[in-house]
Symmetry: C2
Amino acid sequence: MVQEDSSGRQELEGIFHPRSIAVVGVSLDEAGWGQRYLFSLMQFGYRGNLFPVGRQGGEIAGLKFYESLLDIPAPVDYVICCLPAPFTPRLVADCVSKGVKAVQFFTSGFSETGDDDGRMLEQTLLDTARSGRVRLIGPNCLGIYYPAYGLTILNTVPRLARSGKVGFLFQSGGNSQELIEIGTSRGIYFSKGVSYGNACDLNESDFLEYLAQDDDTEVIGLYIEGVKQGERFFKALSGVARVKPTIILKGGRTVAGSQAAASHTGSLSGAISVWRAVCRQTGAILVNDLDEMMDLMIAFSYLKPMRGRRAGIIGISGGRSVQSADSCESYGFSVPPFSPETRRKLLELTPREGSSIRNPVDSYLMSWDPVLFSRALRLLGGYGGVDFLVVDISLIVSVLNSKRSDSMEKQVEAIGDFRKICSKPLMVVLSSEGVAGMMELGAELQQKLISAGIPVYPSMKRAACALDRFVSYHAESR
Amino acid sequence: MVQEDSSGRQELEGIFHPRSIAVVGVSLDEAGWGQRYLFSLMQFGYRGNLFPVGRQGGEIAGLKFYESLLDIPAPVDYVICCLPAPFTPRLVADCVSKGVKAVQFFTSGFSETGDDDGRMLEQTLLDTARSGRVRLIGPNCLGIYYPAYGLTILNTVPRLARSGKVGFLFQSGGNSQELIEIGTSRGIYFSKGVSYGNACDLNESDFLEYLAQDDDTEVIGLYIEGVKQGERFFKALSGVARVKPTIILKGGRTVAGSQAAASHTGSLSGAISVWRAVCRQTGAILVNDLDEMMDLMIAFSYLKPMRGRRAGIIGISGGRSVQSADSCESYGFSVPPFSPETRRKLLELTPREGSSIRNPVDSYLMSWDPVLFSRALRLLGGYGGVDFLVVDISLIVSVLNSKRSDSMEKQVEAIGDFRKICSKPLMVVLSSEGVAGMMELGAELQQKLISAGIPVYPSMKRAACALDRFVSYHAESR
């Protein structure tokens, strides 16, 4: 069902701004999905009216239980359905009677099962909805995430959540949870997103057209197993991808993956070669996994457009610097030696022994002494021979060898201060993964850097991979 | 200086088992390198005699200070030098007089500086050493790591250290520290290792020949920037790599990296194409970074030789399972659908709604219910259609949606119990990176799995990449 553009937009705008939500299938079982949806919305600060619908009567968290949607004595804009599949057709009929705008189905057991019963049940929902003006999201999905409006998907109430400019359309619910939780920890803040599952009614094209027009959304991430309306999707993607960077993770790129996709969301995956061609033509960016997507979302969130490929690297460990230079060059960057004059000035800041001042700069001394470190940063910030700067922190080497217990905090503060005056793109490589006793420190330093507006990557390889695509995007859209 | 084989081995054996060590250049400055070396050895449980050499007189940690090596009234087998470079020739002359077997130089400022003075000073050390029978390690290195004997490199006293079967030869000191700290956290345990820096005397060939003969060492990792004796190294590698899996990380693979290597250890890097050919001919395994090396060390430490490429995957999130299947197939594995009978049996354990039982299996229910989960594991453990099993844990999806707070612990216990009776290779994918509030839990679960003898990888991509090389190694050495 192709929407006329402005009416479709208006309709989605209404769906994303419900004045009231009924959660259907709530019980007093605190592990039950319905109760969890209800509490997630309350914790996340949804300010509209909330109506729990369930059989037990009485109250939950100060809200009166209604036995049926039709018993609610007020308008209901939006319904979150946690009922078992057999009860869903009746609910959709009630939604039609009640004048609900949209129903989101956590419920699964439809076309993704691969059997006729499931497919027919899904068709029944759709037919019933279309007998009125009710739109369906899912089934087999987690629904809408819209932090500025207090909407969240099941159980996902990230501590660090705040609104930002990244939108997402994810066919998978679990992946949506991972994106939101890992993403917010890494400094990705979201405008609006949807986990949309089987997409029997509203599908990726509806949502993509909406995000394309949405002023809050400047970057878009899509996790797609299969597309419902190929031509419409291609058109929407062509319209948006060169204006708002659009990152696509295709689930079911291989035989094994596409079989898994069929039983996950009932999707028929297209060949990955087709997707490569689509991305080439539309300007969308194809990635291989969720980490790559988040790495790119960070680049587009924190860095200004850039096209230069000359890296300046400051590290503290020689072996690591060698590998960092290798990683950069593997992704098409150069790490050109600094000019003789710049090297001479660096040598005023660090002794020749145990240091390198060629590019990468590696110097233990600088990592301990925030004053020297700041001076080196400023020197390279003003150096015309590189286009961007990477500070490569090995937490292990730093912490083990440092002379002061707070030297890491001081170094990170110095980077934050430098960020304010640095006109070059600046990023940090920092990982504390897997090292007993250093993870909390790593997480804390990462948060400080992010708060100072600096993108942080867990390895130079991942930074270079993201930056390669970031630079290519801006070079192509020139 | 090519060693005759057995005498070289005997000499190295002596160097790795010093009955006494003098740390030269110790002061009362607790941030000083000398004092740190001394304390690292004491904390790590070195049981031989330790002699601090420094100017202040008196005692440190109950040990008498000696003003000169020659003042020590007992034999000294091994010297760790933390003096500034200009003082090193005199020290080597003293070592000759004292009958020291080997000196390890933390000191830098030699050939790696790229200037004539540094090169000449290094040559002076070598000439002086060869006027006696003193061998040199380094300069510009961190030296020997040998946990069973209480030897450790600077500041590296990993909490979880114990002896194991992995040997390493690393030209970089910082990388050695990262390998030891991250490695032990991930369950890699070491036999013997060396950070060997500029390799002016004892070089990669000496150490490789030694590890090749060393009964404690079954797997070898090398980080190499440049090779001193090409033919000898090739011969040593040819002799060992098909008997003991030998993993090589080449620093300076690119123009930028090789320039960095020149200023790091004064090494001339060979073209990476040469290294690819060397590895093909010798059976060594070339990797691109330290993470890939550790991933492979884990495979060789925990898995029995295997050649099959059919994966059975158990996960809990549909979207993630789709991507896991994609990752496996990208690295040359298949994820074949389970037989109808096996699927029927899986359906007895999990409802059709919200689950997939095709391969990957994904089921929320199983991740919460350790009894159902154990049954599913046992079912697949006995299934002949796959060669190995991967349990793919999304900590976020599990923790967010779980009905019980201890369900992750229970799931991990179930995997540990299953490991005891499972004849198929078994591994776990588990990551808690970057998620505020989940990292400690992730680290704890990882330790439990490792203690149960199960290799753990932070992503399916990294698991598949390591396993691909692991399977290829065994297929080729057949």
